[in-house]
């Protein structure tokens, strides 16, 4: 199973490289073997493999499929790492493990589109502070995966307490262009490659607003204002357009391959639609500027992160097909978050814009189910009645969509990855906890089994090792 997946991933990468080459017609005999456009492919490829699971049938359980459907007293079967079937009654193969789900709920695993686990890990000592390359306002050359510490104890808490199965690890927001993100499965590994979500697109973390202008203004250099932020962005995009043009010309006409620029590779990948932009941006007016800037240079913003004022511009977000990733109710912790309101998600949903919950926090990631419960309740109080099965999209399907992995995970459709949480009650409650968590069908957390509770290398042999956390 594992090796087939790995081969498939490699084959995909190979195909991508081949098509780039076959599309080009070398004209110059002196140019030698053609170099593929450097933003395609992945030089640090995923070695993630699914752990073994057993065919599992959960019966008599409330199921939220993650795409808006709910089944009461239903059944769900998964096997060979994939969702097989769900409905009122599902035939189970002989030998399947059957779990009585009475009083319990099954949902897709939570996907946190905004995490710094691994690049700002616990313990938060300076020696492990690897999330912001705050030495230049644009660092599209840095990749979060080169910072991620796979032994962050936070991964285990996100799994066991939060039911999180997939995460996007982003660089921080000190820089206008903070670097590439990595999408990972929440499965401990010796290496970051062993956690990387096979075949997931890279993201580019961008930031507008207070942070970049504060960090670089404090160093006495551009940007020190919001207009400086956009000026530096535009100058950098203009270079990226030129860089891409050189490569396109080379692809078309051959000749000398352009000089590689690792940062420009990332930006050209964005312009080519291969790398997804996730833009930290709080204020409505700034998001509107960013959307116009994206039009100006020909790229798409996959998501705004932290957009506490998204509720002011749902129409613009919908028209741009850009998701808003938000907290349920954070507000007022800095000037640009002053206008945060707890109805943000509900107002976005009502308007038809794509919205997701997110954590940006090693504690918040442990209760995103409760966060969407608060958002749903806030909507209900102003007359927006969003059923639980629809609200769950904020926690799994919509983040998967914004990350470009919704064809593989984020909902319980047959054939998709069996990333599944069994909750010991209604997950829209303070009183509910994950009981079991499966990733690709492998049982990786079980409340009833201390052996199914990961302990990172860091915690091994130290006080508190193996405790309930």
């Amino acid at each position: 199973m594992a090796s087939i997946k790995k081969l498939a991933a490699l084959a995909l990468l190979g195909l991508a490289a081949c098509s780039a080459q076959s599309g080009a017609k070398p004209k110059s005999a002196s140019s030698g073997p053609k170099i593929a456009e450097p933003w395609t492919g992945d030089p640090y490829p995923s070695t993630y493999h699914a752990y073994p699971g057993v065919p599992t049938l959960v019966t008599d359980v409330t199921i939220l499929d993650g795409e808006g459907a709910r089944i009461d007293d239903g059944q769900i079967l998964f096997a060979d790492g994939k969702v097989v079937a769900l409905g009122q009654s599902v035939p189970a193969p002989a030998g399947a493990t059957v779990i009585d789900g009475k009083g319990k709920w099954v949902t897709p695993g939570i996907i946190d589109i905004h995490s710094h686990l691994g690049d700002y890990p616990s313990p938060g000592v300076k020696a492990l502070s690897d999330g912001n390359e705050a030495t230049a306002p644009t660092t599209p050359d840095v990749w979060a995966e080169h910072s991620i510490w796979p032994q962050d104890p936070g991964f285990s808490r996100a799994l066991a307490n939060g039911g999180v199965t997939t995460l996007q690890i982003l660089p921080g927001s000190a820089n206008l262009m903070g670097g590439r993100s990595a999408v990972i499965k929440n499965v401990y590994s010796r290496t970051v490659q062993g956690m990387k979500f096979p075949g997931a697109a890279y993201g580019l973390k961008m930031a507008c607003g207070e942070n970049p202008k504060r960090v670089y203004g404090g160093k006495g250099r551009e940007p020190s204002t919001r207009m400086g932020n956009i000026a530096v962005d535009r100058a950098t995009w203009a270079k990226a357009v030129e860089y891409r043009r050189k490569w396109d010309k080379y692809e078309k006409d051959g000749g000398e391959a352009p000089a590689r620029d690792i940062g420009m590779d990332t930006l050209a990948g964005v312009l080519a639609g291969k790398i997804l932009v996730h833009n930290h941006c709080y204020r409505a007016d700034e998001m509107a500027i960013v959307l116009d800037m994206a039009k100006e240079f020909g790229y798409h913003v996959a998501s705004f992160q932290h957009s506490v004022e998204a509720y002011k511009i749902p129409d613009l977000l919908k028209a741009a097909d850009t998701c808003a990733s938000v907290w349920a109710d954070w507000y007022g912790f800095k000037m640009e978050s002053y206008d945060g309101i707890p109805e943000n998600l509900a107002l976005l949903e009502r308007s038809g814009a794509c919205a997701t919950i997110h954590s940006d926090d090693p504690n918040g990631i442990q209760h995103l189910n409760q966060e969407i419960a608060k958002a749903r309740a806030s909507g209900l109080r102003m007359g927006i009645d969003i059923p639980r099965e629809v609200a769950w999209k904020w926690a799994s399907y919509n983040p998967a969509k914004a990350l470009g992995i919704a064809d593989r995970t984020g909902s319980l459709k047959p054939g998709k990855m069996a990333d599944v949480v069994l909750w010991n009650g209604d997950p829209f409650s303070s009183y509910t906890r994950p009981e079991k968590v499966w990733i690709d069908g492998a049982l990786l957390y079980d409340m009833h089994d201390p052996k199914r509770r990961p302990v990172s290398d860091f915690e091994l042999g130290q006080i508190g090792e193996g405790d309930v956390k």
Binding site: S122, P123, G124, V125, G154, R157, N161, E210, Y311, K312, I313, P314, D315, D329, W330, Y331, G332, F333, K334, M335, S337, Y338, D339, G340, I341, P342, E343, L347, S351, D361, N363, G364, Q366, H367, Q370, A373, K374, R376, A377, S378, L380, R381, M382, N424, F428, S429, S430, Y431, T432, M447, H448, P450, F458, E459, Q462, I463, G464, D467, V468, K469
Partner: protein, 428 residues
Amino acid sequence: MKSLALLVAALLAGPAVAETVAFTGGTVAIGDGSQPIPNGTVVIRDGRVIAAGTGVAVPAGARTVDATGKWVTAGIVSGASTLALLDGYGMEETNDTTTKGSPFSAAIDIATSLNPTQMRLGVERSKGVTRAVVIPAAGNTMFGGQGAVIDLGADLDPVTRARAFQYVELGEAATKTGGGSRPAAHVLLRAALEAARNPALASGLEKDVLVTRADAAALLPVVEGRTPLLVHAERATDILAALALVREFPKLKLVLLGATEGWLVADRIAAARVPVIAAALTDLPENFEQLAATQSNVGRMAKAGVSVAISTQDASEGPYESYLKQYAGNLVALTRVDGATGLDWGQAFATITSRPALALGLDGEIGSLRPGRRADVVVWDGDPLEVASAALSVWIDGVQQPAGSRQTRLRDRYANPVEGALPKAYDQ
């Protein structure tokens, strides 16, 4: 316009006259650790609780609030906040929490500078938070100064108790503010407390002086046990070092803040009768003084007989004092996790009402609906420890508070985000 007018009216009116009110038919939670009481009655008069529970008579002439299908509880007391002292993090111009740059530390008295009109305070009030312990941050020494207990009422008089405690850092933070290391901080702490007993040991404003006469004077009620010493300590050994202080200064009234590793020494905290205002759910080794962090910490300490309040101390989310009810609910959830230790509902609710009051010796005054307490009452649309529930009305000192907050104004303005005949700025 209407709610703003009400707010301004409330602010200008001065002390409002508290009426006699009976809340009837709701589920009543007193906040003293007892379990919720279905179909109970709460009666308040002249800003104080008269009675709460079953079989409570409604006085003639009382205004009656029908709470059928709702919950009526003691207001939430935040055990550790910066409310009224800081408009927002990252807005340093508004930051009155820190003593950095001042020649004084222990002498600093935040009650001089509280601002209850700040936006944050109004939002948290609308979410059922009625009182807060306000803690100054340590700056130039590990003493933060004299903190206060406030109410969140919509008026200009927030102080419930000024100089309610002295705040001191005795863990990793003390190494930054107390001379470079824990042992250095302990020297300074002892020197300061000795100077309080013997003012001749203190100095004026000479250069490099860490304890001035004013600081020493502020510490006198601490060594005499009239003012609690709130010690922030996370590591088990730091907690033990704090407990050891009482042997040298026998009258000290110690209170622990944080205590992430408290469960390791819970029996000793209990034996010393030291109350704890704990980090609610810290379960990560966020630094090397929290390696043994677990969400079961609060439950284990309570089981050992420690009086435990919870707080947003160490909470990286916000901090929002209104999250306390969610955290308390999560402590109940732990009772259904194998191997974990949580709290029952009554205990959990007490951690956010009477226990923080008790920690600072104010439980006779605030934090519960027991007779004689200040009438801080919240009517909820459901179980307050549920994430989905919300406050419907809030009463502080028996005065009904303005409904809503700045957040509800923004919500209503943007319920339809598209501009109409005039820009949004005209939509009031």
